[in-house]
Symmetry: C2
Subunit: 351 residues, 2 copies
């Protein structure tokens, strides 16, 4: 198979971790007789510096024409706490999601047996956790009308949803649930928000199409609580953009291994794969960043292209590296640690 | 001192736990030579049944004319999952907040040394946690315009903030921080929302009035993560209504003793005190509900009326009951447990 993959390294540790995922993917491709054509493109602060735009048109062209996008991270401290900055890396992210139509952010939360004691949560609470949060990614209050009134003294943002946006996301949720434990939880704030009532109504109407799936409806505040109390209660969660932003980050703490958590952002034409850890600027350029989340994101990429064995090979080699202690310093527990690129080399040569 | 307190028992376990707080408050009043005049009034499902309205005008009169309001809980399962119900208990809650102008919900999170191992979080992560979340309670997306368009296929909610609403809440936050560890964290989503940018701008403008307070700004998704990872990082958090709804519930898990967490909702004229645990209908009428959160809410009530010693006496007797195992079954760990009213009697007689 010939694969065309857009490569968006981005900012901070992005380029370093992306390099390792490329090595590993190339090794997998070689093993299975595929050919990967990587096309790098600029994004984030790096793109602002180069062309004044965090998601340039040329980058969009590259992504739109690829079979998939592998993404590092964007964000740079020089834009933080500067509410006046006109162009910000995050705008690139939002524009990319919208222009590529990446409507569903898929965030698995699972534990690694060997790392479970790194979690702030007690072992018995989290052992066996295996849930997926499906966050709507191109609608809601992220993309509604916003602005100021009264000489700047009143600000507003509009949270809007259309039925088809909810249906599209929910359908993906139902289908995922069918392949897993057949439990779907719709998370909203329907006791207050009209948009949440449209969510609930839409999902309720779809229930009859999926009689095997057991559907529950919970309020976002209750879920913020239960996710920490008993994450094993959940299988597939579907939720709106803003709620998903909060809950996916909260859930990322469960495993105790945020540096290992992959994600995908699914569109109808092309999908994007990225680690959830962000650009982590303090570590940039030091060859200390943990590349495993990006490597596992590449596994999700292969899986979504129906290259299931390829994905499994990547997951297996990651587990092997953990078992053998070939890890970056964040996982070394004071023991021997390896550089970002050493871990990547080891993984690639053990494929 | 003569105190006029409105008594809103509400639904579910509300009446039972309120009874105990009344006993304890009366015992404290007697000890310190105060006189409390309790005026009961209807609210929630109970009020819907009686007069078709979850927050009747008569109840509002009682509250508006009281020195403080002691509140149990509202909510009844027969209204859940019935998006079509015209009158719902929650509407009473929102109407009450708005009509009484309860603009700041104060939610302390702390641990009880004797109960710390009940937390889903590891002891070393939470020991010494002592933070307060100040949630804006009468603005934001809870009270903005909402509705449907396109034959019901599009729904919208408006998140609005005016500068004075943010200032009022932030001022309370700065003042609380001054009396505590002098750290204030403004939690928003200023990288996306215009209303959050107004929050940040407003709080930044106030910083110079409080040079002793160290102010930080964090995104709500990051805080959802850090609250679980390292709650000791926080002292006073100020945030918008919806973010506060989610974060206060998340934070309530930290102590492992949600049944013990009190809260206040502060207005400019009158304030309201309530346990955070809700109406817990499954336990209603069984004399098993834990009354301590309501009793500790009464302590907050005394403290806000500058009756500091009175508040301390209540807190001391609660700690004594925990130390001596005079507890309801949720805290009994398989040992001897007491009924709701027994715990109340014990507390009152040990004042
Ligand atoms: C950077 C920010 C705009 C973004 C979001 O809120 O979507 C980030 O938090 C994320 O979750 O990818
Ligand atoms: C019942 C509901 C409307 C309410 C809210 O969201 O404010 C509740 O969750 C709370 O936090 O008091």
């Amino acid at each position: 198979m010939k694969l065309n993959i857009a490569l968006l390294a981005g900012d901070g540790i992005g380029p370093e971790v992306i390099d390792q995922a490329v090595k590993v993917s190339n090794a997998v491709a070689k093993k299975f007789g595929h050919e990967i054509n990587w096309t790098p493109a600029l994004t984030g602060a790096a793109a602002i510096d180069a062309v004044g735009e965090p998601y340039p048109d040329e980058t969009h062209e590259v992504c739109a024409n690829a079979d998939a996008v592998l993404f590092g991270a964007i964000g740079h401290p020089r834009f933080d706490n500067d509410p006046s900055a006109k162009v910000r890396p995050e705008q690139g992210l939002l524009k990319m999601r919208q222009k590529l139509g990446l409507f569903a952010n898929v965030r698995p939360t699972f534990t690694f047996p060997s790392l479970i004691d790194k979690s702030p949560l007690k072992r018995e609470r989290i052992e066996g956790t295996d849930l997926i949060i499906l966050r709507e990614l191109t609608g809601g209050v992220y993309f509604g009308e916003r602005g100021r009134k009264d000489n700047g003294n009143t600000a507003f943002d509009t949270m809007t949803y259309q039925r088809f946006e909810i249906e599209r996301l929910a359908r993906k949720g139902f289908e995922m649930a069918l392949k897993r434990s057949k439990k779907l939880c719709c998370v909203d704030k329907a006791n207050v928000l009209e948009s949440s009532r449209l969510w609930r109504e839409t999902v309720q109407n779809m229930e009859k199409e999926y009689p095997e799936v057991e559907v529950s409806y919970e309020f976002v505040d209750a879920v913020a609580m239960r996710l920490v109390q008993w994450p094993k209660a959940y299988d597939v969660i579907i939720t709106a953009n803003l709620f998903g932003d909060i809950l996916t980050d909260e859930a990322s703490v469960i495993s105790g291994s945020m540096g290992l958590m992959p994600s995908s952002s699914v569109g109808s034409k092309v999908s994007l794969y990225e680690p959830i850890h962000g650009s982590y600027p303090q570590a940039a350029g030091k060859n200390i960043a943990n590349p495993l989340a990006t490597v596992l994101s590449a596994a999700m990429l292969f899986e979504d292209l129906d290259l299931i064995d390829e994905a499994e090979v990547i997951r297996a080699v990651v587990n092997k590296s953990l078992a053998e202690g070939i890890v970056t310093e964040d996982l070394a527990e004071g023991g021997k640690s390896y550089g970002t690129s050493d871990v990547g080399d080891w993984l690639a040569s053990n494929i």
